[in-house]
């Protein structure tokens, strides 16, 4: 009887075509985060608002005296507004180390020596963040809409506010993409996840603080374009069809958000390379 050869063997099995490596990266990142208890607790807290609003929807649908809390477009706009805190927390916790840790361990040359492009690598890393951010924004918002119809026993609210479906999708995507790519770009600039997280938190909090200071001095919110989160809020108001909260034209706010995404992609294109060239 032959002895099993534990030596190196040539591989003759199936291979997947290039182009799917981004999903391998994304799944690996998602699994790694789900294995962390602290992150699961963060996700649990992120869904607490959903639970409260679901209860309110139930009460308003079943008790006529609760008309005061009946759902409206503003309800869903407010939901996204309040979830922005968890978007911030999840972005920093899950995103800060996505590229910084790879840079610290020189992993980029391992990744890019495989049959995958730099765009695929970025897409895989972005996929991790996008998945979790949608999980705390778009997914609970959509579920709330479904619950509203179920509790009310009719589709009247949904039919009257059908635009909420694309509005919630577009705003969630804009918010999630802006946060994801900005965080990834900052993560690619450093070999320290902590430093990248502090950079992101600093950028969000510092710009908001400046805006609030200017607002306090001038009494006008025309300088809201300074703040990244105020720009998103302004664009969000327009997308949901509610009155814009700031004096900055929404077009400028949109331009800044889109510009932020574009600048982040440019940084990623510059920093994500198999070889670091110092000239």
């Amino acid at each position: 009887m032959g002895i099993h050869d534990q030596s190196y063997r040539r591989y003759v099995g199936p291979r997947t075509e290039p182009g799917a490596a981004w999903s391998v990266i994304a799944w690996s990142g998602i699994r790694a985060l789900l294995a962390r208890r602290i992150f699961l607790v963060v996700l649990l807290f992120a869904w607490s608002q959903f639970v409260v609003r679901a209860v309110l929807l139930y009460l308003s649908a079943n008790f006529p005296s609760m008309e005061l809390i009946a759902p409206s477009v503003q309800t869903f706009r407010d939901f996204f507004d309040q979830q922005s805190f968890f978007v911030f927390v999840v972005t920093v916790y899950a995103g800060a180390g996505l590229i910084a840790n790879d840079r610290r361990a020189n992993a980029l040359q391992i990744y890019l020596a495989k049959p995958l492009t730099r765009a695929e690598y970025v897409a895989g890393k972005a996929g991790v963040l996008v998945a979790f951010l949608l999980l705390v924004t778009w997914v609970p918002a959509m579920l709330l809409l479904v619950l509203q119809a179920m509790f009310a026993g009719n589709l009247t609210f949904v039919r009257e506010n059908l635009f909420l479906l694309p509005a919630m999708t577009v705003f969630a995507m804009l918010e999630v993409l802006a946060a994801s790519f900005a965080m990834l770009a900052l993560s690619s600039l450093s070999t320290s996840a902590r430093f990248a997280g502090m950079l992101y938190a600093g950028a969000i909090l510092f710009t908001t603080a400046i805006f609030q200071t200017v607002r306090g001095v001038t009494g006008s919110s025309a300088a809201s374009w300074i703040s990244l989160s105020a720009n998103l809020a302004q664009v969000g108001d327009v997308i949901f069809g509610v009155a814009p909260r700031h004096d900055t034209p929404w077009g400028i706010s949109l331009l800044i958000v889109v510009g932020l995404i574009g600048a982040s992609l440019a940084v990623l294109g510059w920093r994500v390379r198999g070889v670091e060239v110092v000239t």
Partner: protein, 316 residues
């Protein structure tokens, strides 16, 4: 084809044609034209010679300013993914994917290279066993020693069964025993497992122990290439020579007399002469120049002689 027919020439596994790579104003490769034969090829040169840049250009990490590269029949510029699917790369620097144990890391690399998950995990176990990390495969890679990290870099380069393995300084930081084991693995892959290997190193013994062919690089240029046995010069004879007097001048006189000569750095001259010349000729030349020979020992031509000669000719 009959048994008497010669085996078909597999052709070069990689070919560079007038490749120039610059980093800013610094030229890392200067119009390099070279072929890597099938089997094991050593890429030899001092630090900064352009060896790593050449490997990175083969992988498509750096885009040449001029020239073309082909690997395994593919144009690197046009089909980089097809090339990388068939190449395994072991980088020089410490590199791993953080937060994973060895099996997860190697399997993950297999999946990135196109293997489905189950075969990738199976291959990960096999190659970790092969490179000698079988007992440590569930340990976090971050906690590995330098020698173990060298082995796991080889494992991740092997997991998708490449046709060409590019090893950049594979024995960096390894203890003597680990180094011998690594070189034995490289030899096994090249000569028993039919994996083409490029060994980039500044350590001549590593290349001599593993390769039949060598490319010698210096200051971004190719200064010598071919089978090591041929480059050593069949029939040439080598001597170690120590003299009393002006060694530099006598070395020049030896060169004028048709011998290859270089100082090994300890005051001993290594002299290479043609097959019909010998110790008597060296004594005769020393006598005519009034030089006293203190030590003369026959030796054999080594890769170091090839290297020193190639580098010396370029510098001259």
């Amino acid at each position: 084809m009959t048994a008497a027919d010669p085996a078909p020439d597999p052709g070069p596994v990689a070919r560079l044609d007038e490749v120039t790579v610059t980093y800013g104003r610094q030229a890392a490769l200067r119009g390099v034209t070279a072929e890597f034969a099938a089997g094991a090829v050593g890429l030899l040169g001092p630090n900064g010679a352009g060896k790593s840049t050449l490997l990175k250009a083969l992988l498509g990490f750096v885009r040449p300013d001029a020239g073309t590269l082909r690997a395994l029949g593919f144009d690197v510029a046009r089909q980089p993914l097809a090339v990388r699917a068939r190449i395994g790369y072991m980088p020089e620097s410490d590199a791993h994917i953080p937060g994973l144990n060895a099996v997860s890391f190697v399997a993950y690399c297999g999946q990135l290279a196109g293997l489905p998950r189950a075969p990738a995990v199976q291959r990960a176990h096999e190659v970790l066993q092969y490179v000698g990390l079988g007992e440590e495969r569930y340990r976090l890679v971050d906690t590995y020693s330098t020698g173990m990290k060298q082995r796991i870099k080889l494992a991740q380069a092997l997991v998708h069964d490449p046709d060409l393995l590019c090893l950049d300084e594979p024995t960096n930081g390894m203890d003597p025993r680990g180094r011998d084991e690594m070189l034995a693995l490289v030899r096994d892959l090249a000569y028993r497992k039919d994996v083409n290997v490029i060994v980039s190193s500044h350590l001549l013994p590593d290349v001599e122990a593993t390769c039949e062919h060598v490319l010698v690089m210096h200051q971004g240029s190719l200064v010598a290439a071919g089978p090591i046995a041929e480059l050593k010069g069949p029939g040439r004879r080598a001597f170690e020579l120590r003299i009393k007097g002006d060694a530099i001048r006598f070395a020049e006189e030896l060169r004028e007399a048709g011998a290859d000569c270089h100082d090994d750095g300890t005051g001993v001259l290594r002299v290479l002469v043609g097959e019909n010349r010998g110790a008597r000729d060296l004594f005769a030349l020393a006598a005519t120049r009034g030089v006293q020979v203190r030590h003369l020992r026959p030796s054999v031509p080594t890769l170091e002689d090839v290297f020193a000669q190639a580098i010396g000719e370029t510098d001259a």
